[in-house]
Amino acid sequence: MIPVGFEYERPDSVAAALALLAEHGEGATILAGGHSLLPVMKLRLSAPEIVIDIGRLTELNYIRVDGDGADSHVAIGAGTRYRDLVISDVLAAECALLPAVARTVGDPQVRHRGTIGGGLAHGDPAADIPAAVLALDGEIVLRSPRGERIVPITEFYTGVFSSVKEPDELLVEVRVPRTGATGWAYEKFTRRSNDWAIVAVSVVTLPSGRRQLGLVNMGGTPLRALATEAALEQGKSIEEAAALAAEGTEPPADNAGTPEYRRHLVTVLAKRALKTASA
């Protein structure tokens, strides 16, 4: 199957990409690695009039520690591929959850093309990275001709495949705290290795010592296990806390799992992830 025909632009800078976005409005779509976009275009679930390819903008491809002192964080350019996350020395030392999560996205071929910005912007509730960034209390940097704004990931998603990003905005960077090399875990549950998660749970320990959990495929957007986090803060055991992981979730029903099953599964995965992260 092949996409509906479209116009193609390959701007040579972010500024040029933004100008194209502003010019074409909602008929335009950003193409980075293409591994969220092209599959839906091939199935004709999406038919943009113009595709703006930012895949070669090296200015969006970086992983670095930015800022000073308490403000310092890891900044990741939106064009950074999953493969680059996996092999990043900076992330291995500064935020080791992310490469571990990235390693489970799709398969090697997908990881060679897919980008962190593309995955975040696409907003699939079954995707791995958004929930991990949520667990990390990350921030999304959006840029448009109107300027730049920083949106906490907690306020980014508004529903399935939807976010506060305006049509003229480009997701240019994601920022995550320097959580270090330890204190994290990712439990992803699938039937097949490269399937989307039926449920997944990421756990990260923030510099403050607080443990946060990001949940994949437990609702229309990535979710936090807030009840579990609160229980941990109150000194409850991992078992007690994990048992609360499904609170406030509205998991979907599909071939792979009923909502009831997902509510159960998330507690099992939360328990395991917390144990690993605490080991």
Binding site: G5, G34, K42, D107, P108, H112, R113, R192, N194
Partner: protein, 174 residues
């Protein structure tokens, strides 16, 4: 729109619709038919080729995205290549349809990690489906191509997978 893509070391060029998939560019514009298309959902990997040395699924890359880049397909390898030679020696193919993609995925995998275990190979080929071989001999072929002893690696890999505290499947195994 005009694209120029180096395919198997040779410059190719064509005027294509932007929606042209790289797989179709290779098959129809360049005339290299080894690369197959087995699904619509980036699942099967039969269309795997290397773009600038990295494995990609050419059904999910636009030809325009590969403009000015270098693509390698199975046709470039020849039978002296360690991967193709091992696939033949270990019977890593039956109907042959997944083979061009499987071979190129293996080439990319070995390039990224020459020190492969059986588990590495199985995980590394997670994006490539084969309906004929049950993967047993594909895994062996990739191990052989990577310079590993497939018998040792497969035995080792099995034990790794099976052993849990207090239990060794090896004890009872023939």
């Amino acid at each position: 729109m005009k694209v120029e893509i180096t395919v198997n070391g040779e410059r190719t060029s064509a005027d294509v619709e932007p929606r042209t998939l790289l797989a179709h560019y290779l098959r129809e514009n360049v005339g290299l038919k080894a690369t197959n298309i087995g699904c619509d959902t980036t699942s099967c990997g039969a269309c795997t080729v290397l773009v600038d040395g990295e494995s990609v699924k050419s059904c999910t890359v636009l030809a325009v995205q590969a403009d000015q880049l270098s693509v390698q397909t199975m046709e470039d390898l020849g039978m002296d290549h360690p991967v193709t030679a091992a696939f033949r020696q270990e019977h890593g193919l039956q109907c042959g349809f997944c083979t061009p993609g499987m071979v190129m995925a293996a080439v990319g995998l070995i390039d990224e990690n020459p020190d492969l275990t059986e588990a590495d190979v199985r995980e590394g080929l997670e994006g490539n489906l084969c309906r004929c071989t049950g993967y047993h001999n594909i895994v062996r072929a990739v191990l052989v191509a990577a310079g590993k002893d497939p018998d040792a690696a497969q035995a080792e890999g099995t034990d790794d997978k099976t052993i849990s505290p207090g239990f060794s499947a090896g004890e009872g195994a023939a």
